[in-house]
């Protein structure tokens, strides 16, 4: 049973799709290789004496003590001293390489012309705002970032409640989102693809269900997406959809959710203006389709125990129009 048959799930640091993740992976591979050799060498040295004839516990008595000769001890001192010296040299090298790579993936190493996206952690979803000097062009979405391939993107990370951590393993290491602070990092995708990430700092009950997707797409496709997201929600085209909209606007949904172009102006839950275009529901918990959406609206606590999504009573005859309307918000 696969809940995401259509989505290519990739949340592995071993499958980088971006500059920074590739640099980290290369560093990691090099270190695994080097440290692996050292580990094997140390283990061989430790085990060789076991290969020689040694005495089991039953083979008593032993000589009372066995203090090796001065000459042996001197030789040992040279060997142990060299090993310790080699350790120091290797570690210094690793420190240097780490600092260099660390600088290259930090915002100090970021190319210019970056797109700035503000990501705010909430228990347990992500609010996303595409920043723009022109305030009317700021777009707001949730749990899903679209970025253009080949262009650096600055993530300004914040939090509304507890500490979260923004982490897309395929693109970059993690950065904590801390209330009352702003943390930045930059990501850049080198190939199109869907990159999954999830909150990496324990943030309470539903820490396990706080995922997000980064969709990296070619520049023109991204521009189209961006232009579309900036517009108001699609007005309901049919009578059925209009009914669905009325159900939404006349229920408690609007206390928390926002749909641009309608009276729904809540600010404490994910923006639903283009909900239908998103891949998942409830921060990566469910794939976005009508069946899952109906289940989610009917019983959010059953699907994501502890979620702040309220169980809003919806009459059974109203459910289908409501679902159809929300899914029509492309």
């Amino acid at each position: 049973m696969n809940a995401f048959p259509l989505l290519l799930v990739s949340q592995s640091a071993l499958e980088p799709g971006g500059t920074n993740a590739s640099r980290i992976l290369t560093l990691g591979e090099g270190m695994v290789f080097l440290l692996g050799i050292i580990f094997v060498a140390v283990m061989i040295m430790a085990v060789i004496p076991l290969m020689r004839r040694h005495r089991g516990i039953e083979q008593e008595p032993l000589e009372r003590t066995h203090q090796p000769s001065e000459a042996t001890e001197r030789k040992l001192a040279i060997v142990v001293g060299s090993a310790a010296g080699a350790t120091v040299v290797i570690l210094l090298g690793l420190v240097a390489v780490s600092v260099v790579v660390g600088k290259s993936i930090s915002t100090a190493g970021m190319p210019s012309h970056a797109l700035t996206i503000e990501v705010t952690g909430n228990q347990w979803w992500w609010n996303v705002r595409y920043m723009n000097d022109d305030a009317s062009k700021i777009i707001v979405t949730a749990n899903e970032l679209h970025i253009p391939v080949g262009r650096p993107v600055v993530i300004r990370g914040m939090s509304n409640d507890v500490i979260h951590s923004f982490w897309i393993p395929g693109l970059q290491g993690k950065r904590d989102l801390i209330p009352s602070r702003v943390n930045t990092e930059w990501i850049q995708a080198d190939r199109p693809g869907n990159f999954r990430g999830q909150c990496a700092e324990f943030c309470g009950l539903q820490h396990a269900h706080m995922a997000m997707w980064v969709v990296a797409e070619p520049e023109d496709k991204f521009d189209a997406w961006f232009a579309h997201q900036g517009q108001d929600a699609v007005p309901p085209a049919t009578e059925e959809l209009q009914r669905g909209q009325q159900v939404f606007l006349n229920s408690a949904c609007i206390l928390c959710h926002h749909i641009q172009g309608t009276e729904a102006a809540g600010q404490v839950a994910p923006d639903l203006t283009h909900f239908g275009s998103r891949m998942t529901i409830a921060a990566g918990t469910l794939q976005n389709n009508k069946g899952n959406l109906a289940g989610w609206i009917a019983d959010p606590q059953g699907i994501k125990p502890g979620t702040k999504m309220a169980t809003v009573p919806v009459k059974s005859e109203d459910m289908q129009p409501l679902i159809d309307y929300l899914e029509s918000l492309q």
Binding site: A46, P49, T72, G173, I178, A200
Partner: protein, 634 residues
């Protein structure tokens, strides 16, 4: 030194065991049991209690592994799971690992340095009672519904009053106060015991390596524990009970400052747990390779170096919080430096194994298991010190794998080795070597099966502290293997317990020195009498039992009609003066009860601290009330 030696009257009789027994025997009855102050009894109580908490923590670990064995498992809900991983971490760190190491130290250090008890026996008893009551208090939350689900690190604001309602976090924070008091008591008395009560002639360069490790560990406790008082009590508990907002960002408090203070304790804590284990490894190796540890000065300096450097790398727990880069680079270097001091010890041990005459006891199996697991954990530790790698691996199962490799490999395996090695000393019976080897192999394979796949799950993106995961993430194989491995560890643990129980009842009766070891604890009968040594030993070598028995010397002229010990000078261990240890007393227990009542009340109302002070004061008055017949020195 000789000038001081002559001050000891040499004409007196040899020790009178009957007289010593009269002075040192415990008082009868239940109140006598509560009044015990001999270090062996207290140390064994620590060990037994800590072992019980190890089992509790182990059961919690098994529950977690059952939940994670399959994706989307619903065995435990999110709240239960979060509570259980919090309890697991807290139990293992505060109620098992540190008290266990201290228990072993309390048991062994006075014997190893050749004295009759720790320097402050009543403080020792008091420390144990505080630890026990703290543990009971913490677990009483299970029955009153006050169990924290905020993680053993209790980061604010998640652990603050707004996001963690109920009394769970308060119980957690106050439990730390208890274990802290206990740890500080042991630290103080071990430092004084080691520095001032060594056998005459045991200059610092003849101190057994285990005592060195306990000395460094105790010093670390003294510097690290005040930081956690600050974090758990001053920041967290005050924020929660009297609304100080010290760590509440919404009111100008600083959650990152809390993290700094927590990890300034939290990182040294790891070394507080594992330095004694390094000392145990040295002692087991020494006895079973028939030679002194190669490079004794280097090993000692490494231990001391470990102790210092451990305080300089706490920030590597916080690389993802966005600290300034230059500072981060410093902490990368410091974190890697710890690999040098650990590496030197590993090299010295391997050199010791190479040139010694190896005897593969069950304890030695655990030492070799330690070498494998700990060195592997050290390698991943070096990787995590590198900021770029840490930014990917931080808070994933890679880190979970890493610190279980260094803590189970670095502390638990040596500890199990120590159990097998010193079992006879405190029980009078030899532990079954064959069963010991069997339990080692089950534990060793089970351990690697549990924790190696976690490295892979981690780099494949699995974060820590998630109560479940979706099936399409590709983590199920790794998790299933881990869960099977966890069951294997449980079986290994069961074999170990069975072995201990069987050997306790039917093991071969042990003589004083079954391993032909080098250090003084093997000079006394197994189990040792309450006064340890009939005549306090005099030491002329780093390996006092490896010199000819005819050349061994002892102190004569100690009075055997009171609890008298000899204090010596710090560096050369020249005799300094006679020191009379206080008699058994129930007041440490009563003081602990009084403080416990007050501290528990303080969780509910700040005025509880006044109650604690008052009851504590009454306790201390009883404790320090002078004995009726003060003897005047002749």
């Amino acid at each position: 030194m000789s000038a001081v030696l002559t001050e000891i009257p040499r004409e007196t009789k040899t020790a009178d065991r009957d007289a010593l027994s009269r002075v040192w025997r415990p008082r009868p009855g239940f109140t006598g049991w509560l009044s015990v102050t001999t270090h062996q009894q207290i140390g064994l109580r620590y060990i037994k209690t800590a072992f019980f908490f190890l089992l509790l923590g182990g059961v919690e670990a098994l529950l977690m592994r059952l939940q994670l064995a399959f994706p989307n498992n619903t065995l435990l809900g999110p709240f239960r799971y979060n509570q259980i991983f919090t309890m697991h971490g807290t139990t293992m760190m505060f109620l098992f690992a540190v008290p266990m190491m201290e228990g072993v130290g309390v048991c062994l250090v006075p014997l190893m340095v050749g004295t009759r008890n720790v320097a402050f026996p009543r403080l020792n008893a008091f420390g144990y009672w505080m630890y026990l009551m703290g543990g009971i208090f913490f677990y009483s939350g299970v029955f009153t519904g006050s169990v924290t689900a905020a993680g053993w690190f209790a980061y604010t604001p998640l652990s603050g009053p707004q996001y963690s309602v109920g009394k769970g976090v308060d119980y957690w924070a106050q439990m730390i106060t208890f274990t802290e008091i206990s740890a500080l008591c042991v630290a103080v008395e071990l430092i004084v015991t080691i520095l001032r009560m060594r056998a005459p002639g045991m200059s610092l360069n003849r101190l057994p390596l285990f005592c060195w490790s306990m000395l460094v560990q105790s010093a670390m406790i003294i510097f690290a524990m005040p930081a956690i008082v600050m974090a758990s009590n001053f920041f967290l508990l005050n924020d929660r009970t009297i609304g100080t907002h010290l760590a509440n960002p919404a009111e100008g408090g600083d959650p990152i400052l809390y993290q700094h203070i927590f990890w300034f304790f939290g990182h040294p804590e790891v070394y507080i747990i594992f330095l004694p284990a390094l000392g145990m490894v040295s002692m087991i190796l020494e006895a079973n390779t028939r030679r002194g540890i190669f490079g004794y000065p280097a090993v000692v300096l490494s231990l001391v170096g470990n102790g210092f450097v451990a305080f300089g790398l706490w920030v590597h727990h916080m690389f993802a919080t966005g600290l300034p880069q230059l500072g981060e680079a410093y902490f990368t270097a410091a974190s890697m430096m710890i690999a040098i001091t650990s590496g030197v010890q590993i090299f010295c041990w391997i050199a010791t194994i190479w040139t010694g005459r190896l005897r593969m006891t069950a304890a030695m199996h655990f030492v070799f298991g330690f070498l494998f697991i700990f060195v592997l954990g050290g390698m991943t530790g070096v990787m995590l010190a590198s900021i770029p790698l840490d930014l990917q691996a931080h808070d994933t199962y890679f880190v979970v794998a890493h610190f279980h490799y260094v803590l189970i490999g670095g502390a638990l395996f040596p500890l199990f080795g120590a159990f097998h090695h010193w079992f006879s000393k405190f029980t009078g019976r030899m532990i079954d070597e064959r069963l010991g080897r069997i339990s080692f192999w089950i534990l060793f394979v089970g351990f690697n099966l549990t924790f190696f796949p976690m490295h892979l799950a981690g780099v494949n993106g699995m974060p820590r502290r998630v109560y479940t995961y979706p099936p399409e993430m590709g983590w199920q194989t790794d998790n299933l293997l881990s869960s099977i491995g966890a069951l294997m560890i449980a079986i290994g643990g069961a074999v170990f317990i069975a072995n201990a129980l069987k050997s306790l009842r039917a093991g071969r009766v042990a003589d004083a020195d079954p391993w032909d070891s080098s250090t003084l604890e093997w000079a006394v009968p197994s189990p040792p009498p309450a006064w340890n040594f009939d005549n306090l030993p005099v030491v002329s070598s780093r390996y006092p039992l490896w010199i000819d028995p005819e050349e061994r010397a002892c102190v004569v002229g100690m009075r055997d009609d009171r609890r008298e010990v000899l204090t010596t000078t710090v560096l050369d261990a020249a005799p300094h003066h006679r020191y009379v240890l206080p008699a058994s007393s129930i007041w440490p227990f009563l003081t602990a009860v009084g403080l416990t009542i007050g501290l528990i009340c303080a969780v509910f109302a700040f005025s509880g601290y006044w109650l604690a002070s008052l009851l504590g004061l009454i306790g201390f008055i009883g404790w320090f009330w002078p004995p009726r017949h003060v003897e005047v020195e002749p």
